[in-house]
């Protein structure tokens, strides 16, 4: 569903946010708030632009909050159609604004997680190495090309904001502390990577967009989709492990205690 043209069009009327469930205690707290105290591996919810008002119930799947499993859903024939129709219905209640400054630029809490997510999605990662107070300037310069224009949904973007990230400097071939845009291809397990192109921060948005489009085209031609079951098997053989701040586990009854800790998440 998440790759269907209908869904991809519908979700442009939303701000889509995907958090790593076990990344931090802050994420756990947010998920528990949305799930009335429970904590689950997956959670979905639609909220108003203020981030407070819930527009759907919270569930563990899109269909639980938007589709045939949600209350009072009837439009469309298939599950996907019902979900998209419900999304459109919700979006119609909001008048989108595009004139209130540049779109917010994507960011991660850590470069380590950015690399992991880029590997999982098989997207190239643009890492902007900048000074701490450069975020607003960066956003006004390139924010729009990653939000509405041709690069939306193709890359992941992370910003250093003056931080000297250890994973960046040690695990990425071609890493540099010098300010600039660095285009990174993560390795298959997202714990290492290599810089495949770099650009000065002064690069105009149009030129950057063209260069990134070309890099992505080449990447798409060169790389095949990973088969996740094979990936996991290979990871087991190689003893790959990625530790998050919050250990894997769920609290389905919402008593504040993790119910079980089978597996490693």
């Amino acid at each position: 569903m998440f790759s269907s043209p209908e869904f991809l069009e519908a979700i442009q009327s939303f701000v889509a946010v995907r958090l790593e469930t076990f990344e931090s205690k802050e994420h756990e707290k947010l998920i528990r708030e949305l799930m009335d105290g429970r904590f689950a591996n997956t959670a979905f919810c639609i909220l108003a632009p203020d981030g407070e008002e819930r527009l759907t119930r919270t569930g563990r799947s899109p269909s639980q909050i938007l589709g045939p499993d949600a209350p009072n859903r009837g439009r469309g024939n298939s599950s996907d159609e019902k979900i998209v129709a419900h999304m459109q219905e919700i979006a119609e209640g909001y008048q989108q604004r595009d004139s209130n400054g540049a779109p917010v630029l994507q960011d991660f809490h850590s470069f380590r997680q950015a690399l992991n997510v880029a590997a999982g999605d098989q997207r190239l990662l643009l890492y902007a190495v900048t000074e701490r107070h450069h975020a607003d300037k960066l956003q006004s310069r390139i924010g729009s090309i990653f939000s509405y224009d041709k690069l939306a949904g193709i890359f992941h973007v992370d910003q250093s904001q003056g931080q000297n990230d250890e994973v960046w400097s040690k695990n990425v071939e071609g890493a540099s502390p010098s300010p600039g845009y660095y285009l990174i291809e993560a390795d298959e397990f997202g714990q290492d990577g290599k810089v495949i192109a770099s650009f000065p921060l002064s690069t105009e948005a149009d030129a950057l967009e063209k260069s990134l489009q070309e890099a992505n085209r080449i990447y798409g031609e060169r790389v095949d989709r990973k088969v996740y079951s094979e990936h996991v098997e290979e990871g087991r053989r190689k003893d790959v492990f990625f530790e998050n701040e919050v250990p894997y586990g769920e609290d389905r009854d919402g008593d504040g205690e993790i119910d079980h800790r089978r597996g490693r998440g």
Binding site: A16, P49, Q95
Partner: protein, 77 residues
């Protein structure tokens, strides 16, 4: 076989709905049907940036959380 739960999000290879709420084992997981390089969802990856963009653009928020690992193995979302 040891049953290990993954929350894998496969950009469309999992039918919308119940698969998310069921225990998906690594052996059950295939590949995304979307070609590498094709545009997908423009995800924000922190709550702070998403909320700021929602307030700026007056768009509702499509919230999702999931594990970016499977059996502790990274490079999976």
């Amino acid at each position: 076989m040891k049953r290990i739960v993954c929350s894998l999000f496969l950009l469309g290879s999992v039918a919308a709905g119940s698969a998310y709420s069921q225990h998906v084992r690594p052996i059950d997981i295939g590949a995304s049907p979307q070609a590498v390089g094709e545009a997908g969802v423009a995800w924000y990856t922190t709550w702070e940036t998403a909320l700021a963009e929602a307030e700026r653009s007056n768009r509702p928020i499509f919230f999702m959380s999931a594990a970016a690992t499977c059996s502790g193995i990274s490079g999976v979302f």
